[in-house]
């Protein structure tokens, strides 16, 4: 298993999983989110291709109420 950091929390992730898989598991497949891996934006078009690697630091963000 890979160890990753997802939104600040350490987790494990099966080898071969892609960002697209991770988003689907988290229930975000149909939601408007943006993803950053190791401080680099990964565009939506690349989510299905980008494999999750050992030590990846992933941020998933969305829009919410703010001033």
């Amino acid at each position: 298993m890979h160890t990753i950091v997802l939104n600040g929390q350490t987790r494990t992730c099966a080898p071969g999983h892609t960002l697209g898989d991770l988003l689907a598991e988290a229930g975000y497949a149909q939601r408007r989110v943006a993803v950053e891996v190791n401080r680099e934006i990964v565009p939506k078009s690349e989510h299905a291709r980008r494999e999750i690697r050992e030590g990846d630091c992933i941020e998933i963000v969305h829009a919410l109420g703010g001033g």
Partner: protein, 269 residues
């Protein structure tokens, strides 16, 4: 011979930001409301066309089915203005804007806000300038929150910000415009829209900003924190419109002594 083709002009006092035309000069935030339904109803009552949103981490496993702000305020209907509220450095702010652009399908209009301290929430103007330079270079259209300093406002315009947004008073304070001479100086020197952002408490504060010649007012707490947010949103809409009309109409000068409204000649007796 030289007749110009007449363009249909339905509205002659539009606000133009980064080439896009808006009818409403009241921009609203979407934080601190009771729920998304209240957010939507207040936004509609305000007549706002530009609404700010925050960019935050999702709660993994918790908000799977939670209603989404962008369902209540769809980007097809509103101009979504992602902000960098809560950022205390230029790097954080730039990173947030890049995420926002990805989130909103390449949308480049952002509200830049880099804070200096948690007690006052005053902007860190050094970091704000630095972030603005980077964002403009990366083709963002930057609406920038800043202090009410005319020199700084001019500098931010020179960098290429599409709107400069000086505070009226500290964020959420409701104190109204504290330094109207500075705001007036900023307005008179500007070629980009000047939008008072933060510190408005009630309708008259918004009207004063508009009477000074500001191009718009951005507020959140004054509406969301009111006892009746939807009613306050409607009041703010009227105040912004009234203040704008008064500015355009041109007020009379202030005089120390009276000046009769009725004719002096022809009194009976």
């Amino acid at each position: 011979m030289n007749a110009q083709p007449k363009l249909a002009v339905a509205f002659d006092d539009a606000l133009v930001i980064a080439g896009k035309t808006y009818r409403s000069r009241l921009l609203t935030g979407t934080g601190k409301f009771k729920d998304l339904d209240e957010t939507r109803r207040a936004t509609e009552a305000a007549g706002a066309e530009i609404v700010t949103v925050a960019i935050r981490r999702t709660n993994i496993g918790q908000d799977r089915n939670a209603p989404n702000l962008l369902d209540a305020l769809p980007p097809q209907k509103y101009t979504i203005l992602p902000n960098t509220a809560g950022c205390y450095s230029a790097d954080e702010a730039v990173r947030t804007c890049r995420l926002a652009r990805e989130l909103l399908d390449g949308h480049s209009l952002v509200k830049l806000e880099v804070l200096g301290d948690q007690k006052t929430l005053f902007p860190d103007v050094v970091q704000t300038l630095k972030a603005a330079e980077t964002l403009v270079a990366e083709k963002f259209e930057v609406m920038v929150y800043t202090s009410d300093d005319p020199i700084l406002a001019r500098r931010l315009e020179e960098i290429g910000c599409v709107a400069v947004m000086p505070l009226a008073a500290p964020i959420g304070s409701g104190l109204g415009i504290q330094n109207r001479w500075n705001i007036l100086e900023i307005v008179e020197n500007a070629k980009v829209p000047i939008i008072v952002d933060a510190g408005v408490g009630t309708a008259s504060d918004a009207a004063i900003a508009m009477e000074l010649g500001c191009d718009g007012v951005l507020m959140n707490t004054a509406i969301a924190g009111a006892r009746n947010p939807v009613l306050m949103a409607a009041a703010m809409r009227k105040a912004v419109e009234a203040g704008r009309d008064a500015f355009r109409a041109g007020r009379i000068p202030r005089k120390r002594y009276a000046s009769a409204s009725s004719p002096i000649d022809g009194n009976i007796g």
